[in-house]
Symmetry: D2
């Protein structure tokens, strides 16, 4: 089990707005039925690495079908073999430590 | 106004757990009083670019004070001059488009 | 044709040195017969996006076979459909502009 | 001593070509007198972390002065305290290991 953070950016599209492109990418994640989280800087998805990279290839193609001629895709994959890594669990571990330090989020 | 996504990773620390290091970094953000969001893959912070990069320098130093000998810091900064960019607004724009496509998050 | 920049980082290894892990990853690229470039911060490879992501999956696995329990892989893919994108050509385009600005590298 | 890899990307420009923007950013690095390397996916610079992030802020501003309305800047900083980290040395360490594995670059 791994977590992927992915951001797909169309280049040279005239408009500075990228949300129509981002939404189309998130739709592809939604259709895969994988657990995911939308953030302001990308999409986090959990799953097996091979599945995540297959998904990344599909997301990267999406802006081209919407007219973009150049696409930059930024991916980070975090995988642990000693422990199950999940979006909710990883975030909860940080929030728990913050609470121990007196910071409530 | 810009949004920064930052992830600070200690290298060669024996333990595969990084949450103690991450929490210390988030504490630094908290002390700055900037608007931020903790995600499973990093921390998103909004502010002026100069302030964000000053903050990034402080966060990058934190693991060294906790004993790390090598630190990898990954940063993405997204800045618009034609419109105010904020974490909540940017995420809401994507979720709105998803709803229009019939996807409820 | 696209260019991928990839960096595979083992987390929680005892040593701060990562070159044995990096070399093993580069060996995998070499065996694929794809055009690539080693830089101080990662490996750049050119090819079709599907091939590049298949390669990325193999490179991401490598540190686990060398004993790592956690691996962070950072990928950027740049693809153009209006023009052939190659490592040598893309770098040459920047160097040409620099020369026009009086900067010789 | 640290190494920074930085890539500054204008968003919503009409052209898919980014080399005029990249060259302007490299010019800023050149003027600082820091040791750097141009790759096909960005610029690698070595120096103290504070100096590198000050430089990053200047490079991030450059596309705005050239007419861009949105800029995405991607940064990775690798710093070691147990050993001096330099672009040439880090790359040489990987190439040396590759030669020991029978791969000549």
């Amino acid at each position: 089990m791994a977590i992927m953070e992915i951001s797909v950016v169309p280049i040279g599209t005239e408009s500075t707005s990228v949300s129509p492109f981002v939404a189309e990418c998130v739709k592809i994640v939604e259709q895969q039925g994988l657990t995911y989280e939308v953030t302001s800087m990308g999409t986090e998805v959990e799953g097996a690495v091979d599945d995540l990279l297959t998904l990344a290839a599909q997301m990267h193609q999406a802006p081209f079908t919407q007219g973009a001629q150049r696409v930059l895709t930024i991916i980070r994959i975090d995988e642990r073999r000693d422990k199950e890594l999940r979006i909710a669990g990883k975030k909860a571990a940080v929030l728990k430590r913050l609470r121990e330090m007196g910071i409530e989020r």
